[in-house]
Symmetry: C2
Subunit: 239 residues, 2 copies
Amino acid sequence: MQTVYKPYKKDFEFSYAFGAFPTIELIKSQPQKVVKVLVSSAYREEGAETLTALCNAEGVELEYNDHIVNRISPKENCFVIGVFNKYVCMLDGAKSHVALANPSNMGNLGTIIRTMLGFGVKDLAIIGGGADILDPKAVRASMGAIFHINFEYFDSIEDYKERFDGRDLYPFMLGGEFALNTLPSREKKPFTLIFGNEATGLDESYRGVGQSVVIKHSNEIDSLNLSIAVGIALYEFTK
Amino acid sequence: MQTVYKPYKKDFEFSYAFGAFPTIELIKSQPQKVVKVLVSSAYREEGAETLTALCNAEGVELEYNDHIVNRISPKENCFVIGVFNKYVCMLDGAKSHVALANPSNMGNLGTIIRTMLGFGVKDLAIIGGGADILDPKAVRASMGAIFHINFEYFDSIEDYKERFDGRDLYPFMLGGEFALNTLPSREKKPFTLIFGNEATGLDESYRGVGQSVVIKHSNEIDSLNLSIAVGIALYEFTK
């Protein structure tokens, strides 16, 4: 049966990488997940050869189809769409992790993933139901970095802790026990940095989950943007 | 003559704060700049009293007008619009600054401004023509923080240096002389952190402008998101 490609919905078993750059990252990093690459005729002229060669090398079907590209692409000009089957990965227990509880802003999520890759932390735990990490908005904001990291869903922080027993956990929250810049020196062992979502942060139950940390800021703002907070924490923990 | 309010264009002498929260920040921080507040009837029910009281206290005209609100608001639901005259401020030479050369992404700009306020750096130099810091997208992304900082435009970094002679300047660029986390300790004096735009960064001419700095990251990404880089730099310089 022919799949009918429509604008993305969360319950799809596949998702889209919009744009040539994320699509190329997709094919290079997760070739076995690619269903096909859709291209609009407007892309023929510029840079299409690289993409065509890559698809040929990896045995990926490339279809020129203006109608479908227009139907499923976001409103901006988008000439290339990588269609791929959604997947999950197993986190690596020997490595450091970022854990995000109920992330809700897909743009922030993508920026965080790109920043993680920048600081060499490549394992992301998503805590609590609801987030759809392979949403095209997250894929796009990550600029394809999402295809280079491991991510796995956990129902609760308890489930995560059960799987990864004995790690150093650092929940970031207002009123955290330690300011990030005064944190006692750590042993060189894998850590997990835990962050709440954009609107609510982590709830009080996280205060007992490891060593709580706060990034001090003035009282002129309610909180730092989530992706900024994760970026600062990753910088400090990996430097 | 009655002003006709239309969707924002850069050459307007006024701009818009979309949403109740940024509008309230506008009225509290820059009451003399407010032209009027436009409200849609859908807002009557919830929380309109606070806004009405604030407008009365500051002598700001509040107009219920669904037609105009719908015409000029972005596509999301937006019930409150603060119309204000655009302005510039003088930077404070005794304080630390952030300088952005040709910023092009208004969402990033707003996030940076909010982060500056969070780290107590309240003076922003915009280098090079073109940027329109009071664009509604920047106002919105700053969540009103923009009304709490000073900002000033400079044609070139040379013009900026002429005005603020003898400061410590830190251009952030790939291949910067010092890694941020190994920067020699500084005297306690005002600093200026300089960043290029999202696409191109700072050009080579900035290497001689003060002490160039790099935030080290893996070669798996081309560069950190601009707002993340500014956030990390502000954290490190103010901690």
